[in-house]
Assembly symmetry: C2
Homo-oligomer: 345 residues x 2
């Protein structure tokens, strides 16, 4: 019922008759070779007893560090990003950091606004999945050197920066090869037309897999805005209409796959008999789908762990402000029925 009064260093100082400075040194583990063990113990015991917790805003005001990390995803309600977000939480909290999440909606303006909003709030680090055409802004952000900047899911080849991404090339290659091994003669690729590195790397992986196998690549690169729309579905259908010989499809994202599967349902295509399917990014719906959908799944816990650990490492800054952290993690092919043509049954 009663608001219990927070205890400050000053209170401890008065109570114990020890100076504020000394107490601060002890709290911050800077007391070695300065303060006697006796006093250290006395203060530490008292702190434990009264449950002293430092006032974060006073620390921030003094040090300029907010102990805050921003995770700027494309869409925080997307299962992939929200799963990563959740995994990061714990580690961040245990290291005394809090995370703030937000969504760019793949919109440059919005992303810029958010960055400047959070810069005003003096966050310590940005973990960002940049929207399209955002390289210059990212470059500027890095150059300012006010915050740690870590990219996720996408990277830029022409800039030196920190990132954690999937091994998109080999993932796509593995998936396409699986379709070929399953008996597909003409494998098509459905991706997104964008400057995201993940998209071009996946496309290259597909191309590499099929180059000695079929006469020509067949692909559809949808604009980002059409990934989930009826218009996108129409384009997908017309791809199938133009190339009647397509008997296998690799979808580059789960969004594309969901829309594509809707299209295939509308066309009454039999999977996998008429068309085998593999997609990136696992989702629970793919296991339940009839037939169940094979996927190249991203190692969400590992990605999240690397992401937050890398960011924390850079925040510690032991190796200077120009240190970078770069990690490429392998995906995992999960074979289900959508590419099971019975070739080896």
């Amino acid at each position: 019922m009663k608001k219990k009064q927070r205890v400050s260093i000053k209170d401890i100082s008065k109570e114990l008759g020890i100076s504020i400075t000394t107490i601060s040194f002890i709290i911050n583990k800077k007391a070695k070779n300065r303060i006697s063990d006796e006093v250290i113990k006395k203060v530490e015991d008292y702190i434990k007893k009264v449950g002293y917790k430092p006032n974060t805003s006073a620390q921030t005001l003094r040090t300029g560090k907010t102990k805050t990390i921003v995770f700027m995803a494309e869409d925080i309600s997307d299962p992939f990003f929200s799963a990563v977000a959740k995994e990061m939480e714990d580690i961040a909290y245990k290291n005394g950091y809090k995370i703030i999440y937000c969504s760019t909606e793949n919109d440059k303006e919005r992303a810029s606004e958010l960055i400047s909003l959070f810069q005003d709030r003096q966050v310590d680090a940005f973990i960002i999945t940049p929207p399209e055409n955002f390289q210059q802004e990212i470059q500027e952000l890095i150059d300012q050197k006010n915050e740690v900047v870590m990219l996720f899911d996408r990277r830029y080849n022409t800039t030196e920066h920190s990132y954690v991404i999937l091994d998109n090339f080999n993932g796509a290659k593995t998936a396409a090869e699986k379709l070929i091994a399953s008996g597909c003669i003409n494998v098509a690729y459905v991706g997104i037309a964008s400057d995201f590195s993940c998209m071009s790397e996946r496309f290259e992986g597909y191309n590499d897999a099929i180059k000695n196998h079929q006469s020509q690549p067949m692909s559809l690169l949808l604009p980002f805005k059409d990934v989930k729309t009826k218009a996108g579905r129409a384009q997908f259908k017309s791809l199938l209409d133009q190339h009647k010989n397509i008997d296998g499809i690799l979808f580059a994202t789960n969004g594309l796959a969901i829309n594509g599967l809707k299209g295939l349902k509308e066309l009454n295509k039999k999977i996998p008999e008429e068309l085998a399917v593999i997609t990136f990014d696992d989702r629970d719906l793919f296991e339940l789908h009839s037939p169940s959908i094979s996927v190249l799944s991203q190692p969400v816990p590992a990605l999240a762990t690397e992401l937050i650990k890398g960011t924390l490492q850079l925040l510690k800054g032991k190796n200077g402000p120009d240190e970078t952290f770069q990690k490429i993690l392998p995906g995992k092919l999960i074979t289900r029925n959508s590419c099971n043509l019975g070739v080896y049954d």
Copy 2:
């Protein structure tokens, strides 16, 4: 490349030869009847010109307000909660608040830890979906009156508090009545055994719908931990085994439905011919499923809007610290093929 120096009130004061107090009054719109229009304009123009932004931690230190809201969901990676989270973001930012998200995992201990962690950080408000058996802790949190407390998705009947929830009773009733109207003779209910109000209200809605229709209710209440497990699926199958006459099922959550649908697939049950199905909470997978699944969908944008607006209203605190904000929103039945028995075709 260069870190640009932040400008403080003191800088403005020096530059303009006006006292810090005056400038602070102008910034906080407390200058009316105190400061001449001429000076106000001069200061406002200068602020705009140099892009002054107040230092948040100094404000916090002085006022004790962090402008931070915590959204403590059961699982922030659950599509329902992450969709709500995303909707709230914008409104919060536009009102100068930031939101921190976290997950309780339906674990009392964890929830308590998180609450005390964020109390130490002096957040201004908690939006909480409480875990099981958490009423007393919530009561204490409210009684302390240090933060605004808003419950979401679940409420307690024996305590006066703020909440935003779905009209669970009528939602369940509508869904069950739909199954009956579609021609089902024996409708079963699959829910969660828990003290969550949403669960009991849904069960009551089901009971109310069938009371004049079938001789007895048939239900399975799974423990929370088994919702997504094989063990839960086994219990579900044994329900069907014990009551061979069941021809309609109402699932109380989408998690239950997904696991249930897996079970039905394993049993090779034909939906809707042998068993019609409706579930709470829409998900994109339900539209794509064969057959598509009918749902009682929650109005996510409306829920999120009420949630954040209510919280902001309480934070303004115009009506005293004991004001509460209570909102019950109706769900919407979306009819798809899983309950289409052709009765009216």
